[in-house]
């Protein structure tokens, strides 16, 4: 029973207490760069989550074989391999998303969340805990990106996941789909997130 409870906490910490975006501020480049719509945010989140789960899985499997001194380069190669796979899958099956995300797909390699979890968690824990940790962290990342994308899309283009709910010629806050809107929206979302979490704990 205690075991299950532990895993539940392990899973939930990534979503709220150690949320990679709002609390730990990791992986900010894709967070700000691709979230001009909810769909892009979700796509980027899922791609990153896939790499995160696979790299945590492999790292925790081979952790005893890798000498401590070369572990960081080894982790980077593992991560880069999965990023290349994601890049190829996206290009083949979702070319629209591939074009939208552009440079940020190869840059998943240098997303600090992934290397951070490999180093801080997967290299010290067993396979099952590592996968659960990756799913929790990945979901926290997906949620943050989708919410930020949704807020920016609603304010900036008056739509959500591409469905427009204002008339074609209505004026929207275009600022929010432009670069400055990313910083400003994330600033206020962080305030909101801190407010909500400080109340519940």
């Amino acid at each position: 029973m205690a075991e299950i409870l532990n895993q539940k906490q392990n899973f939930l910490k990534g979503i709220v207490k150690e949320n990679p975006i709002f609390v730990m501020l990791l992986g900010m480049c894709p967070t700000l760069g691709v979230t001009s719509s909810a769909f892009n945010g979700l796509g980027m989140g899922v791609a990153t989550m896939f790499v995160l789960i696979m790299s945590n899985l492999v790292v925790s499997l081979v952790k005893n074989q890798i000498p401590a001194k070369v572990r960081i380069p080894a982790f980077i190669i593992i991560i880069a391999s999965f990023v290349t796979i994601v890049e190829m899958i996206l290009e083949a099956f979702v070319p629209f998303l591939y074009e939208q995300l552009g440079i940020f797909i190869p840059l998943i390699v240098v997303n600090c969340i992934i290397l951070g979890r490999a180093e801080a968690f997967a290299s010290k824990n067993n396979v099952i805990s590592s996968i659960i940790d990756a799913i929790g962290m990945g979901l926290g990342f997906v949620l943050a990106l989708t919410v930020l994308g949704a807020v920016r899309e609603i304010l900036g283009s008056g739509s959500l996941f591409g469905f427009k709910f204002v008339s074609e010629d209505a004026s929207t806050f275009i600022l929010f789909i432009l670069p400055p809107g990313a910083f400003i929206a994330l600033a206020y979302l962080t305030v909101l997130f801190n407010k909500i979490t400080s109340k519940t704990t």
């Binding site: 480049c29 290349t84 440079i103 240098v110």
Partner: protein
């Protein structure tokens, strides 16, 4: 003429930090003092130039002829990581004062996405050549330096300002970055 356009575009119009969102981590992380941000900018200028030179040659003369261009991401990140290590060792021997100034920032640069990002973007330049790719890297690191140093100067003043409780720390910095980005938006259409 081409080169002037690349320079203006990289520094002002498509600023790598404020409009392309690369290198946000060091932008938020090492910008609390002007002196550290100058050191970081110097290290980025140094590494980015060498890294782009190395990855461009690698891509054009090894990966493309061998039909291995899908290995771009893996090879580039390895080359950059190895290069950063090498630069660190060489600097320590050859120029201790420069090592003193840049030393702390060098390891951080491996996970700085500007370096990998610019190396990849440099491959897609129009009528690309080695010289143009390297110039592109220099221009972008100047853009990075400008954004970082301006942001650090604002943050030094912000220390003394009376910020509402909920906005302290990260949110106010993000807002400042947002306003800075808004200012740079004014350069749109310049080239």
């Amino acid at each position: 003429m081409d080169y002037i356009i690349i320079l203006i575009a990289a520094v002002f119009v498509n600023n790598i930090v404020l409009s392309q969102f690369l290198g946000i981590c060091p932008f938020l992380g090492v910008s609390n003092k002007v002196s550290t941000s100058v050191g970081m900018s110097g290290a980025v200028l140094f590494v980015m130039t060498i890294a782009t030179l190395a990855t461009y040659l690698l891509y054009e003369f090894i990966l493309v002829p061998a039909g291995l261009d899908y290995l771009r991401t893996i090879t580039f990140i390895l080359v950059i990581a190895a290069l950063v290590q090498m630069v660190e060792i060489i600097l320590k021997k050859v120029s201790p004062p420069l090592y003193q100034a840049l030393g702390v920032f060098l390891p951080l640069i491996t996970t700085n996405c500007t370096v990998l990002g610019v190396a990849i973007l440099a491959l897609g330049l129009e009528n690309g050549s080695l010289l143009k790719a390297v110039f592109f890297a220099v221009a972008n690191s100047l853009g990075f330096a400008l954004a970082l140093i301006v942001f650090a100067s604002i943050r030094e003043h912000l220390e003394l300002a009376n910020v509402p409780k909920g906005m302290k720390g990260v949110p106010i910095n993000l807002l400042v970055a947002g306003l800075l980005s808004l200012a740079f938006l004014g350069f749109t259409g310049l080239v």
